[in-house]
């Protein structure tokens, strides 16, 4: 790779790339994000390369292994370009057929098409698939087009032109103003205005400043940042370079979870390629500005997603947050002014610089601008990454895009914001989503994890789960969090074991409020949210557990019992064989029976019974 020294050279390079690529040339885009890899997409890639080679078509068809396309439920996902034909659940064995039938003869393979559950019809083109139709993909737009390990793809699709503009035609102050005008707010969850944060850091005294990308995406169920880092790491880097230029930082860090090995690897490659091309290093694009970016992998601590704990970790200390002020913008890493932003926030920056803050601010609601990526997971048909403008509703996301709940079950609520967030019950699904509206509902935007809970979810157990997560991840420095969340967990555990007492709910509410007000950092300050919000909307479930020793959703083991309906049981013996503790007995073709003493309530019998003969209450 040749070093690009000026913005003219960059444009020349881009032009060479674009003219060297025929937009009509057939391209196979195969999703190779972590999810689809588990499904076997690497074998699909191999199959394509082999088949194309052996058929002598290697000059006629390109194969691109891309990052996450977002429609994770249907992986491995393959999209044929330029036609846009969308194939799902593709196997290596399907590949010869795809090439000979579809690519060479234009015939579509029905079995590989997506079927819309509503109409029952198959859909041919990606842009017609409802999952994608209702989305507005600004940040994820290139995830289906580029190979994240090849910087030329990014440049050919317009990458680094925002950096070019920022360096050539904008002063640092103008960059900050543009970001301010856009209305961009931090996508990590707190929603602090990004332009203002940059301004404060630029103003801070000192010559040594840092920029940090917080890629420690710890909320369980959230993987937006992973997919951005895997699929388009250059966009994040471009954002950081623009930001560093605006603030006056010459050293950047990406703090990324070590549980994301593919993202770490793709980022490493991207940084190396950016350096080789001159987008990082000295005198970037002739601007006289220097920047180098290092990767710092996390070491397994959720609390390091909190900015002061993150910085402590980079400083080789334990991830204990410290009180603020001073804020990182003034005194951060090693005491120097530091600007920390989330992955998705950084990824929005090149888009804003390229198209203008005013254009960006047309999208979204009055106070929440732009788009937000959500990872829609849990009890949902179309698990995947969804990017929608702020102001979209949960109904749209869960039903129109998400395809509703599997098994035809009813939806109970959606949990937003992970362990710091709250649940939003079905009756509020038509509220337009933005930072403020979610706060009013007792939840938070969070980083974007959206866990859909169906009617068989026990909301008390869900709250207990989040509290046990917090207890495991609490750094232990301050009393309200270290001891208070333990107290809350003990009470919740008792309740789910059928030992709830009068006054438990009131105690949880009181202690929860105090922990929120008194904790040192955001982890403790938000830890009670899942409990407070589930009590707010599902108090009846708590009361059933406490007063009636009953779990209405049939989840809490000490409160449920499995039994076999003698009328329905055919004596097939499937449950007997499935039982891990040999608690079921019965003769062939005779009704079987569960020994309650031995039963561990694992539910395997109910899972395997084809006659609905196993009941739980």
């Amino acid at each position: 790779m040749k070093k690009i020294r000026t913005t003219e050279e960059l444009e020349g390079f881009r032009e060479t790339l674009v003219t060297g690529r025929d937009p009509e040339k057939p391209r196979v885009s195969v999703c190779c994000g972590t999810g689809c890899r588990v499904y076997g997409s690497m074998k699909v890639i191999e199959a394509f390369e082999e088949e194309i080679d052996s058929s002598g078509l290697d000059k006629k068809i390109d194969v691109v292994s891309t990052g996450c396309h977002g429609f994770c439920e249907k992986g491995p996902v393959v999209v044929l370009k330029p036609s846009g034909i969308f194939y799902q659940r593709v196997d290596a064995a399907d590949v010869p057929g795809i090439i000979s039938e579809t690519m060479l003869k234009g015939r579509v393979i029905e079995e590989l098409l997506y079927t819309d559950p509503g109409s029952g019809k198959t859909i041919v083109y990606e842009h017609d698939v409802p999952f994608y139709q209702k989305q507005r993909r600004l940040v994820l737009d290139l995830n289906g087009d580029i190979d994240p390990t090849n910087i030329e793809d990014y440049v050919a699709f317009g990458g680094y032109s925002a950096l070019s503009k920022a360096v050539e035609r904008m002063s640092p102050e103008e960059i900050i103003e543009e970001v301010g005008n856009s209305g961009l707010r931090g996508r990590g969850g707190a929603g602090f205005p990004t332009g203002l944060k940059w301004k404060l850091c630029r103003k801070a005294e000192g010559d040594t400043k840092y920029v940090i990308c917080n890629a420690d995406e710890g909320d369980p169920g959230a993987y937006m940042d992973r997919s951005i880092m895997e699929g388009n790491p250059h966009r994040v880097l471009e954002g950081m370079i623009i930001g560093a230029r605006a603030i006056g930082a010459h050293q950047g860090y990406v703090y990324i979870r070590n549980e994301y090995p593919l993202a770490v690897e793709n980022l490493r490659i991207a940084i190396a390629q950016a350096e080789a091309c001159g987008f990082l290093g000295n005198n970037i694009l002739g601007s006289g500005f220097d920047l180098s970016i290092q990767i710092r992998p996390g070491s397994g601590a959720f609390v390091c997603g909190e900015e002061t704990a993150l910085m402590a970790s980079i400083e080789d200390r334990v991830g204990e947050p410290r009180p603020r002020p001073p804020y990182p913008a003034v005194s951060g890493l090693w005491g120097k002014p530091t600007n920390i932003n989330n992955v998705e926030t950084w990824a929005n920056v090149p888009i804003i610089i390229e198209r203008g803050g005013d254009w960006y601010s047309q999208i979204g609601t009055a106070d929440s601008k732009g788009t937000k990526i959500f990872s829609v997971v849990g009890n949902i048909n179309n698990t995947g990454l969804v990017e929608v403008p702020m102001g979209a509703t949960l109904s749209e996301i869960v039903y129109d895009i998400g395809g509703g709940i599997p098994g035809g079950k009813a939806c109970k609520a959606v949990q937003l914001g992970g362990p710091s967030g709250g649940c939003v019950p079905v009756e509020h699904f038509d509220v337009p989503i933005d930072y403020e509206s979610l706060q009013e509902l007792g939840s938070i935007m969070g980083s974007g994890g959206m866990v859909v809970c169906d009617e068989d979810t026990c909301m008390v157990e869900l709250a207990r789960f989040f509290m046990s997560f917090v207890q495991e991840e609490s750094c232990g420095k301050c009393v309200p969090c270290r001891l208070g969340t333990k107290a809350m967990l003990d009470v919740l555990t008792r309740i789910t074991e059928g030992n709830g007492q009068d006054g438990d709910i009131e105690y949880l509410l009181e202690l929860g409020e105090q922990i929120k007000e008194s904790s040192l950092c955001g982890l403790g300050q938000t830890a009670p949210n899942p409990v407070l919000s589930t009590i707010r909307y599902f108090r009846d479930e708590y009361e059933a557990h406490i007063q009636d020793t009953c779990c209405p959703a049939h989840v809490c083991k000490p409160l449920i019992q499995y039994s076999i309906d003698v009328e329905a049981c055919t004596g097939c013996g499937r449950c007997l064989r499935a039982c891990p503790v040999e608690a079921i007995s019965g003769e062939k073709k005779e009704p079987h029976i569960i020994d309650q003493e031995k039963c561990i309530k694992c539910g395997s019998c109910r899972e395997v019974c084809k006659f609905d003969a196993v009941m739980v209450e």
Partner: protein, 227 residues
């Protein structure tokens, strides 16, 4: 000097002072546990929280670390503050029921029986011992180990630390007496850290007074002073 309002009264404070310092300068009492004048403030016990009134409402901040700013409005004993302190003390009593300093605080605030039981450990993780061993003594013999509810103070690997010099600063500074020291005849042992020291006899009077580890430090100090 800056001016701010504490408990309805306009007071003055030095620039760069914390809210705790500003309060104490003006004879306003705020309870603390993990604070010590000789150490960097920690902000961990949350007992010293005060209410900071702002345009969008109030928030609680730890007065030992929060800077006193010009024009700030602070309440050190409002209902919001008292509720928080009572909760903090109730939780500490639930975890350290036999620690006298906690019992006294509980009595002061009207906390009788904690509503949960969280254990019986005199160590309240205020961190004073660790911080003193680091910041004042410079031995770094002990540290805060693990995270969350199972956090504890330990020497490395839980066995006697060869960095400990037996100065007993940690024993002195511990508010609950969780660190047990025994000076028996010619031996000093700090039970918690499994550290043992043998005092050497004075060549002149024969009394056993100083462990060699401590003496080494003093010698170095003396040499420094002479230079």
């Amino acid at each position: 000097m800056i001016t701010l309002t504490i408990d309805g009264r306009q007071v003055e404070a030095l620039e760069g002072a914390t809210l705790l310092e500003a309060a104490r300068e003006n004879d306003i009492e705020i309870p603390t546990l993990c604070f010590h004048e000789a150490l960097e403030p920690y902000g961990g016990c949350r007992l010293c929280v005060v209410e900071l009134v702002g345009p969008k409402g109030s928030q609680l901040v730890a007065s030992c670390v929060h800077p006193a700013e010009e024009g700030a409005e602070v309440r050190t004993n409002s209902e919001m503050v008292r509720r928080s302190r009572r909760t903090t003390v109730e939780l500490l009593l639930a975890a350290a029921p036999n620690a006298k300093v906690i019992q006294d605080l509980a009595a002061e605030m009207g906390v009788e029986q904690p509503r949960v039981r969280l254990g019986d450990n005199d160590c309240i993780l205020c961190g004073l011992c660790v911080r003193a061993c680091d910041e004042i003594v410079g031995a770094n013999a002990i540290s805060l180990v693990n995270r969350g509810f199972v956090k504890e103070v330990k020497p490395p690997f839980g066995i006697g630390s060869n960095a400990c010099i037996g100065c007993t600063t940690c024993v002195f500074i511990c508010p609950t007496g969780a660190i047990k020291l025994a000076d028996v005849l010619t031996n000093r042992s700090v039970h918690e850290w499994k550290s043992d020291f043998e005092f050497r006899p004075c060549k002149i009077c024969g009394d056993h007074y100083l462990a060699p580890e401590l003496r080494q430090d003093y010698e170095e100090l003396l040499v420094e002073e002479q230079v």
